[in-house]
Structure formats: structure tokens, C-alpha cells
């Protein structure tokens, strides 16, 4: 049920003193091969943390053997010195594992603008290497070590029809409280695949899972999703089977991020149908998912469809063609808006479940798209106003 579910992987999670709480804060995931296939997707923020800059060039050849991850510091906006820290971390781990530094990817999460305590981090890397194991417990400890404000560790695994396995771990205190150093994901598989197939599977999976979770429109400087393939099962897996396995694990982990949004009291699924294109549907869904007035209303158990319609109206017509007079909105199954106007009585809507379903019919085409988000709560404000103090 974690990165060690797939054969050919060892992992560890240790406490190195980066977190003031004494909790685990350094994780290491190692592929023992025989393959060293790797793919990765990174944040599109132009301000990229040092570990993202390092890992992007290190994985460019489609190969990696290890990932060293730390919580307790994002190593973002730390200048050339911060990049040197990430480079040095990779070299340190590589030396210990008898690898090239280019085969070691680095991930960090925590506060921006603070240098990492390198002595503690490198000592933690050594301790993690010493603790490496292919057990389920070791995989869980790695997942624990990357937690920040997460209340639970997030892991997933699936066995493909061919018998190959895909496992994974993720961190992210929901996407509602991403703290700008939000989402780190490591997915492993023992399938025999090449780098191009791994890359295609990972990009396809993230586009329909992690990319569709959007709680507060704040894009991280550190987001990283990594796929490592060890080939240890000896089972050759086709592109479609791998894509489906990676997608399934990604979907499970993405849903776990939404469910653990600490500040949140509702998980909100925005589904837009009858759009002229998937992009148009996603643009409308994203605008609704990002509207603070919609999110605050959901916190108040208020099916305020006027705010949903108004958010949809903010999307330019060139992006999502539709006639506002044909809009229909269902909240938790009740059609509160019909033909752009008043529908069923909003008092019929039961807003008490944690999961809120918002369905918007644009009446313009046959395409659809969905986004997951959370509500805007007092706890969100509290958590994010007190983070660095």
C-alpha cells in the first residue's frame, strides 16, 4: 500500500530534526532495478524551488534510481546557495548508494525563503539509507516523513491485470492549505517499461487527477510528481495498462489530498457538462472551484447557486462558449437553477454531507470536465495566517 508495494523498491522515513516536533522529516526511496526508468512532472510556477530545478535536469534523461525528500523546509527562493544545497544532497545520497548524482532526485516541502539545515539533512539522509527496507512498514514511514500539516499519511497501490504492481505515496494538507510547498508524490512500479511509456503514463495520469484538484488557486513552487519503474517484476506492461495503473493510484492519492484538507469542512466536486470542449468545461469548473464566495457559501451549508452562476459568467466567451440563459445548476442533486433562472427551492438541498456535488449544465455541447476543491472556512484562514509565525 505504498512505494514498497512494487518489487525492487526500498524506502525509509526518519526524524532528522528539521521539524521542531521531532517527527519524521527525511524520506528516501530507492529503486534496485534492474531498470532505472523515471519520469516526473513539476510545478508550472515560474518561481521554482531549488529541488525542482535540480530534479528537472536530473530526470531529463528518463533515468533515476533514488528520491530523497524532506519536510521542514521548501528550499525555495534561496538563490544559488539553495541550488547548491539540493545538488549537494543528491551527491551525498549518490555517494552512499554508489550512484551518479544525476540519478538522485530531490524534493523539499515547508516554508519558502529559508535555507535548509544541511548538517541535519545529510545526517538524516545517512540514517534513512541505513534504514532502507522493502517492507510495508518502511513505505509507510517514508510517507509519514513527507507530511507537513497533513493529518494522515497518504499511500495507494494497485495490481495490474498482468501482475505488475503500481504503488505510491503523497503529501499535501489537502489542496486547501498547500502552504505553497504543497504536493509531493512518488509513484513506483515493478513493471518493465521504457522511459517514453512511463512519461506518457505519468503525464496522462496527472492531467486528469492531480491537475484537477484546485483548492485555492495558489500554485506551489515545489510541486513534484515522480514515477520510478524498477522492472523487478519481469513483467512487460503495455502503455495502456501502465497508464491505467498509474491513473488509478494517482486518483486515489489526489482524492486523499482533498479529504485531508485540514481547514475544510466539505470536499466539493464541480462537474461541468454540455460544454463545447473539455477545456471549456474545465475552465468553468475551475472558475467555480476558485470563487471564494462560492466556497464560503458551502462552508455555511448554503446552496447559493447565484454565486455559482456568477462565477461561470466570469469565464470569457472565447474560452467557454455558452448562453447564460441556458445554464442549469444542480447542488447535491437538486436543480436549483434552470434556464439561467430560479429552479427548485434551495431549501430542498441537503448540504450536511462532507461531499458536495455541484453540477453545471452549459447547454452548449457534448464535452464535460470536473475539478475537486474544498470550502473556505475559518480553519483555512487560521492555518494560513499563522503558518510562519
Amino acid at each position: 500500500m505504498s512505494v514498497t508495494a512494487a518489487r525492487g523498491f526500498r524506502a525509509a522515513g526518519v526524524a532528522a530534526g528539521l521539524k521542531s516536533t521531532g517527527a519524521r522529516d527525511v524520506a528516501l526511496v530507492v529503486s534496485d532495478g534492474p531498470l532505472d526508468v523515471a519520469a516526473a512532472v513539476f510545478t508550472s510556477n515560474r518561481v521554482q524551488a531549488a529541488p525542482v530545478q535540480w530534479s528537472r535536469q536530473a530526470v531529463a534523461d528518463g533515468r533515476a534510481r533514488a528520491v530523497i525528500l524532506n519536510s521542514g523546509g521548501a528550499n525555495a527562493c534561496t538563490g544559488p546557495e539553495g541550488f547548491a544545497d539540493s545538488h549537494r544532497t543528491a551527491e551525498h545520497v549518490a555517494d552512499a548508494l554508489e550512484l551518479s548524482a544525476q540519478d538522485v532526485l530531490v524534493c523539499s516541502t515547508g516554508l519558502i525563503g529559508v535555507r535548509l539545515p544541511m548538517d541535519s539533512l545529510l545526517a538524516g539522509a545517512d540514517a534513512a539509507r541505513a534504514a532502507l527496507a522493502d517492507t510495508e512498514a518502511a513505505g509507510l514511514e517514508a510517507a509519514q516523513a513527507i507530511m507537513t500539516t497533513d493529518t494522515v499519511h497518504k499511500t495507494a497501490a494497485t495490481t495490474l491485470p498482468s501482475g505488475a504492481v503500481v504503488g505510491g505515496m503523497a503529501k499535501g494538507a489537502g489542496m486547501l492549505a498547500p502552504q505553497l510547498a504543497t504536493m509531493l508524490v512518488v509513484i513506483t512500479t515493478d513493471a518493465v517499461v521504457d522511459a517514453a511509456t512511463a512519461d506518457a503514463a505519468l503525464r496522462g495520469a496527472t492531467a486528469t487527477t492531480f491537475d484537477r484538484v484546485d483548492s485555492d488557486a495558489c500554485m506551489s513552487t515545489n510541486d513534484t510528481v515522480i514515477l520510478l519503474a524498477s522492472g523487478a517484476s519481469g513483467i512487460e506492461v503495455g502503455p495502456e495498462e501502465l497508464a491505467e495503473g498509474v491513473r488509478e493510484v494517482s486518483a486515489t492519492l489526489a482524492r486523499a489530498l482533498v479529504a485531508d484538507a485540514e481547514g475544510a469542512s466539505h470536499d466539493v466536486h464541480v462537474v461541468v457538462t454540455s460544454a463545447t470542449s473539455e477545456d471549456a468545461a474545465l475552465a468553468v469548473a475551475r472558475e467555480i472551484a476558485r470563487a471564494n464566495l462560492v466556497k464560503a457559501a458551502i462552508f455555511g451549508n448554503d446552496p447559493n447557486w447565484g454565486r455559482i452562476v456568477a462565477a461561470a459568467g466570469c469565464v470569457p466567451e472565447a474560452v467557454a462558449p455558452f448562453d447564460p440563459a441556458r445554464l442549469a445548476v444542480r447542488v447535491n442533486g437538486v436543480q436549483v437553477c434552470r434556464d439561467g433562472g430560479v429552479g427548485e427551492d434551495r431549501s430542498l438541498v441537503d448540504m450536511t454531507p462532507r461531499e458536495t456535488l455541484i453540477e453545471v449544465d452549459l447547454g452548449a455541447g457534448d464535452a464535460s470536465g470536473d475539478i475537486w476543491t474544498n470550502d473556505l472556512t475559518h480553519d483555512y484562514v487560521e492555518e494560513n495566517s499563522a503558518y510562519s509565525s
Copy 2:
């Protein structure tokens, strides 16, 4: 100090029972000429309230004599019946004032998706007509009648060098709590100007004042800014002088909206300099102003510059070219970020004043731009989660 400061205008504000509190809720502003010049700017939301649809076509000829405004209901998403209600309101007021319905503009503010109680509204319009006066008190009562969650009425006036006067009133509970039916503004002048000059002055003024207030990125279905010119001073005013007068009154009213954001504890001025163009500067300023993590940090008196830099990094390079490694950020005068990395100690920043100044230097060009916003607070969440319940 209100719409009656300019000669040739009468106004009134009465209680018609649209608000459950019994407060004033219907306002009327009438130009007695000799001119009937008018210009207006409306929300760009594709979901447009019935009064916006009515007023847009009514003012298309550059002429209007009266504005009837109500709080207690936005008349948005109310279908053909809602439009008929706005039309009927204009006709009712026109009959009483012996005008054409096309010379009467209509504004509404309040909850979306609810029909207006027309009997109460029309009776209120009659009462307002009976109470019309050119006194300062009448102008203030009109400003009071358009308040929703505003804690104070907002008025302004200035005398131009030529002796002509520009006055105005606005409503909006800050822009932080726009309730989607946010901003109504009526500006009056006794200057002798033509419709094209009035239109240019109003568009120029809104572009650099009201359009630069952005508290939560939620665009209203009802936003309307109207300029009426009576010509009653007999003073011919050139385009530049009128533009400056309208801009000054607009700036005063826009700043008053920010200052009265009920949920807010800080007014935040985001100034972006050294951009390649004004549009680029505004795009970066707007992204920062809309970032919930930045806004929540300011609520917590936390000069969290990492979140500011990360928000800037979300703007696509095609929109705002700059090198993240050259970014500099000052918060209340302290340069907390230099060359994209750590600058002065953030503990040097005094965040206790209500006004917070965020200055971002992109190091890319000579253009600049600014946006006003507010912080994200518990009161914002409270107010917006309980609005329609």
C-alpha cells in the same frame, strides 16, 4: 459632498420595505438639466442582472435624466420576468417625472435569484419622487438607501478649476464582501459637456480607480457606474478637466470601498514597478491581490514574502516577462526579498497599521501599476457563509 453637490440635481432616499431592517432601500437621482448627458460602465460578467440589461440599452444614446436604485434585491438570474420588472420600474419613474422610460436608468443590489417585491419598490419610487430635493441631506439619504452591508455611506465631491462641480455616491461593502451584487456608483456634474466627452472621462476614471480595486476576484452581475451631466452650471469644461474631476471623485469613492470592507482588517496596496508594460504590472499586482495565501498571511500580520513571490510566478511569461531571480519585494518599506531570494529580516516589518504596502520590483522595464485589495479574515468567511441564510 454627494450627487447633489453639482447644480441641477435632486435626490432622495427612502425606506420602502425591501430591507427587513426597515432602513432606506430606494434611491432616486434626477437631473433637471438643461442637459441630459449620460455615460455608464457595466460589469463584464456574462451573467448580467436585469437592471444592467435595461440600463445598458437605455444609456446607449448618451442620454439619461434619472437613476432609480434599490438595495434589498439584485434582480439577477430572474429571467424575462426580472427584465420586465426593471422595464416596469423605469416606466413608472418616467411617467411620474414626465420623461421617456429610455431616459431612466435602473440599478439593483442584493441577493441573486430572487424577484423584487414590485409593489413595495414602485411605492418606494413614488415616495422618493415626492421627497426629491437638491440639498446635501437629500444626497446623503440617497447614498444611505443603496447601502447593503456597508457600515458607512460613501460620497465625494470636487470643484473643478473652472468652477464646475463633480459629485458622487457609491455602495459596496468594501470589495472584499461584494456579495456578487457589489458596486453601484452615481456621479453627477453640472459641467456643460457632450456625451462623448462624458463617456471618455468615465471610462478613463473607472479604468484607473474602480477597476483597480479587487478584493476577491468575484465579478458582480450588477456592477454599474453612471455619470450624469446636467450642464446647470453653464460652465463649459474641456475633456481633460472633466476627466480629472471624475477621476478624483472616483478615486475617493474607490478608496472608501476598500476602507469599508467589513470583513477586512487591512487595506492592501499592491504596487508593481519596473514592468515591461502597465498591463504586465497590473497582471502581477492582480495575481498577488487575489492570492488567498497572501491575504491570509496579511491577516496574521505575517510579511510572508515567499507567498508574494510565488503568486507573481503564477503569471505566464507571455503576460508579464521578468526574471524570477531579479524580483525584489518590499513590505511596508522593508526589502524582505532581493534578487529573488532572502533580503532583510522579515521581523523588521511592522504589520500593525491598517494599510499594508506591498511593492514588487520586476527588474524588467519602466512601467508600473497598482491594485487595492483587503486581507482574508474570519469575518470575511463569516459574512459570506451566512449571507443568504
